[in-house]
């Protein structure tokens, strides 16, 4: 078989179907992963002792165990206690938990880096702690967390391939199916790799644009470089 025919007529159409699933996994996971990260970081940093401990434990559990294990539990384990999730839903939940836990660490680091005076000034104006966090602390922290968060988002793009292990035929899975059917491994997985590379490159460019748009004089990378 002609290589071009294989790549353009067989491989790419199959990969596009997988890519759609991969994109769906990311689009459903990332926003909630970010929200969870903000919630867990805030709870850990500003919550009472119980909430703070709970957030810390959650992060420890997620960081300390393989994501694959989590997916297996969600998909194969939960039915035994009466909760049956589709493979796609189980994947998304697993990714949200994982993404959220790691995001929370980046955000927590950024929260700590915001100077105490910001909270003091906000409270002196009559803001509650919650108002101060929402309006003053978090907007600054999120700007500083962008490099870390974008890193985590890129990880998400790549570990979304783990969904294949619980039967979701996403990008990698689609590639694997084609490869085993036609016994063409190297070319197939190289093309799959290129698709991931394109996704990550788009993300990197988008993050750079975002970072510039939300940059604030005195708080951004560029002005630090000028010092």
């Amino acid at each position: 078989m002609d290589q071009a025919v294989f790549i353009f007529d067989i491989l790419l159409p199959a990969l596009m179907q997988g890519l759609v699933i991969t994109l769906q996994l990311i689009v459903f996971s990332a926003p909630f992963g970010l929200a969870l990260g903000i919630g867990v970081a805030t709870g850990r940093q500003y919550g009472g002792p119980i909430l703070s401990r709970a957030c810390k434990t959650f992060v420890l559990l997620i960081k300390g165990t393989p994501l694959l294990l989590l997916l297996f539990i969600l998909y194969f384990g939960l039915p035994s206690i009466g909760i049956t999730l589709s493979a796609f839903t189980a994947s998304v939940i697993g990714f949200i938990l994982c993404n959220g836990a790691y995001n929370s660490e980046y955000i927590r680091g950024a929260l700590i880096s915001v100077k105490d005076g910001q909270m003091i000034a906000a409270q002196a104006l009559g803001m509650t702690r919650a108002q101060a966090i929402r309006n003053v602390i978090m907007p600054q922290a999120l700007r500083r967390a962008i490099p870390g968060l974008s890193n985590e988002f890129i990880y998400l793009i790549k570990y979304s391939s783990l969904a294949y292990m619980i039967t979701v035929v996403e990008l990698s899975g689609a590639g694997k199916n084609v490869a085993t059917k036609y016994f063409i491994y190297t070319e197939t997985f190289m093309v799959v790799g290129i698709v991931y590379l394109v996704l990550v490159t788009i993300t990197t460019v988008a993050v750079n644009i975002l970072e510039k748009r939300v940059a604030v004089p005195g708080m951004s990378r560029t002005s630090a470089a000028q010092l």
């Binding site: 002196a124 104006l125 009559g126 803001m127 108002q131 003053v136 600054q140 604030v216 708080m219």
Partner: protein, 251 residues
């Protein structure tokens, strides 16, 4: 306006940090329109005292009253009192991610619940008051220290406070910037704003203070009008502290 109207009353404030008793029973009253200036050696609790007044630091003992209502032990109502008790800090503490205009506007929107149009007008008015309406769209990092401090004064003023606490507002500024901030404060005093000022600026204390309170070792050691502290022979400690008194006071 009733000049005898007592707006702020501080009673027997005590505060310790660990073994160190920083405030050892401070009491005073502030009438509407008065400027009280606190001077004294570093580490005698002047800043802590200001922070106890708006409960950023919780005193161990004693009470604070604003217009006859208790500020201490006021629970969630403290956020109402903090609107009424403005505060200006040595290091400005402007919100770094917001322009000068938004620094002033933020609490108007989020705390006082003003409409966008109302808050915008109020914020611009206050920036004009401190001479910075042309700098409204600049970020804190783009402002000089004097400008930043004036923005923070505008931010405090915007809440229509009954009293403003100034915690060494010019200690981080060079003489020229100090002057521009003191000019704004002097004008506020003349307009009848009630102010408590911790400062080392003796010229300001002399010309603006209704009363000077000299603090040492957690108590008010000497207290009186600038003239009285200077000329009454019973007062010696503050004169010693200032040392080069005559150059400030003239004779």
């Amino acid at each position: 306006m009733d000049r005898n109207d007592i707006v702020l009353r501080v009673e027997d404030i005590h505060k310790s940090f660990g073994d160190k008793e920083v405030l050892r029973g401070i009491s005073f009253e502030v009438r509407r329109g008065e400027t009280k200036v606190f001077i004294g050696p570093s580490g005698t609790g002047k800043s802590t005292l200001l922070r106890c007044i708006n409960q950023l630091t919780i005193p161990d003992r004693g009470s604070v009253w604003l217009d006859g209502e208790e500020v201490t032990n006021s629970g969630a109502r403290i956020n109402y009192f903090r609107q009424k008790i403005g505060m200006v800090f040595q290091n400005y503490y402007l919100f770094d991610h917001l322009t000068a205009f938004k620094n002033v506007e933020l609490a108007l929107l989020r705390v006082r619940g003003m409409s966008k149009a109302e808050a915008c007008e109020k914020a611009l008015t206050e920036l004009r008051q401190v001479g910075l309406e042309d700098w409204a769209d600049h970020y804190p990092a783009e402002l000089s220290g004097g400008q930043a401090q004036r923005v923070s004064i505008a931010r405090a003023l915007a809440m229509d406070p009954d009293v403003i606490l100034f915690d060494e507002p010019t200690s981080a500024l060079d003489p020229e910037l100090t002057r521009e901030v003191l000019e704004v404060m002097k004008r506020l005093a003349q307009q009848g704003m009630t102010m408590l000022v911790v400062t080392h600026e003796m010229g300001f204390a002399r010309s603006v203070a209704t009363e000077i309170l000299f603090m040492e070792n957690g108590v008010v050691a000497e207290q009186g009008t600038p003239d009285r502290l200077m000329h009454d022979p019973r007062f010696t400690r503050m004169k010693n502290f200032i040392g080069q008194f005559d150059s400030y006071w003239g004779d």
